[in-house]
């Protein structure tokens, strides 16, 4: 029979959960649940860093410009397509 899994940081403690990102075994002290998913401290810090890190200014400009263009063209195409279909009846 295999021995019970142990915490990666505290070898004397039994594993309580597994980090979803790095698959490390975690004891109750090391395991943190964030939005329903278990993480170890280092993976949680990395994930938080990703969220907190600001997106490049150019990316914001690009997303806003593309969205506005899509919406503007959407309104125009909506009219053109509808007029075309209506002309058939």
């Amino acid at each position: 029979m295999s021995s019970p899994a142990r915490c990666a940081t505290h070898a004397e403690r039994p594993a309580y959960a597994r980090c979803m990102a790095c698959s490390a075994m975690l004891c109750q002290e090391c395991a943190t649940q964030w939005e329903g998913i278990w993480h170890c401290a280092s993976c949680l810090a990395k994930k938080r860093g990703n969220v907190v890190a600001r997106s490049p200014f150019l990316a914001w400009i690009g997303v806003i410009l593309f969205s506005l263009t899509f919406l503007y063209l959407g309104a125009r195409v909506m009219v053109w397509t509808s007029a075309l279909i209506a002309s058939w009846f």
Binding site: A17, R18, M20, E35, G36, I37, W38, N50, V51, A53, S55, P56, A59, W60, G62, V63, I64, F66, S67, F70, L71, Y72, L73, G74, A75, R76, V77, M78, V79, T81, S82, A83, L84, I85, A86, S87, W88, F89
Partner: protein, 250 residues
Amino acid sequence: MTAAPWAALLIATSIPYRFLQAIFLDELFEVGENAAHYGHLLGGTANLTVASILIAFFGRAVYARVCRLSIARGHAPGREGWRVPGAALASYILTGSAAVLGGFLSTLTLLGPVVAVMFAGLAIGTMELNERVSVIAPFRIILRHSRRLAIPFALVLVFFIAILVVFANLAFTFGLGVWLASAIGGFDAPKWNALFTTDNRRYMLMLLAGALVIIEPFWIAAHVIYVRKAGAQESGDDLRAWFEELRRAS
């Protein structure tokens, strides 16, 4: 369904968009084959319709977040539901706008609108996977979740049938309402009966708009669950969640 109270917000933000769509179609039927000569009128309504979709996008984003948090925690979140990350919202506005444009561009192909609806569903489902703002990344994430097309296609089919069922039920409810109200003295039932008929184009368009508004919360919840399940299968998270449930039960 724990996210149910938040559906009211989604419905409130969707109503302007759906009913402006109904008004646009009503105007289109009104001008008929002369539509090409009424570009200014139709264009004005189309602009308003597309502008109102931004309000609908915000409502959808909040509702999708609430659905995801409810699934993870087992209860509806509080004020946290409002805090949609800026990157996720911007990504959804980008992909949602692309879905709108793609849908209209491909109207004549018949298959195109179905693909656009599938794309729009995956866009709201994958919204919160966008942790940073990017023009390309949101489309890549959608592409990754559309490898198994059978489920998104099945969802389109199921919800298309659901819209027809809701449409019929709404029509029946209005009929029943008039019948019950006719028992009240002073209520002009024949007048209302004449309005609530299949010959009344505006009534039919409003029923369709109402059916779409009613179906939307279920449509979004289904896609959030689909994306979460697909992610869980990739990461093994579902197995861990199952172990966790077993440990809690023991």
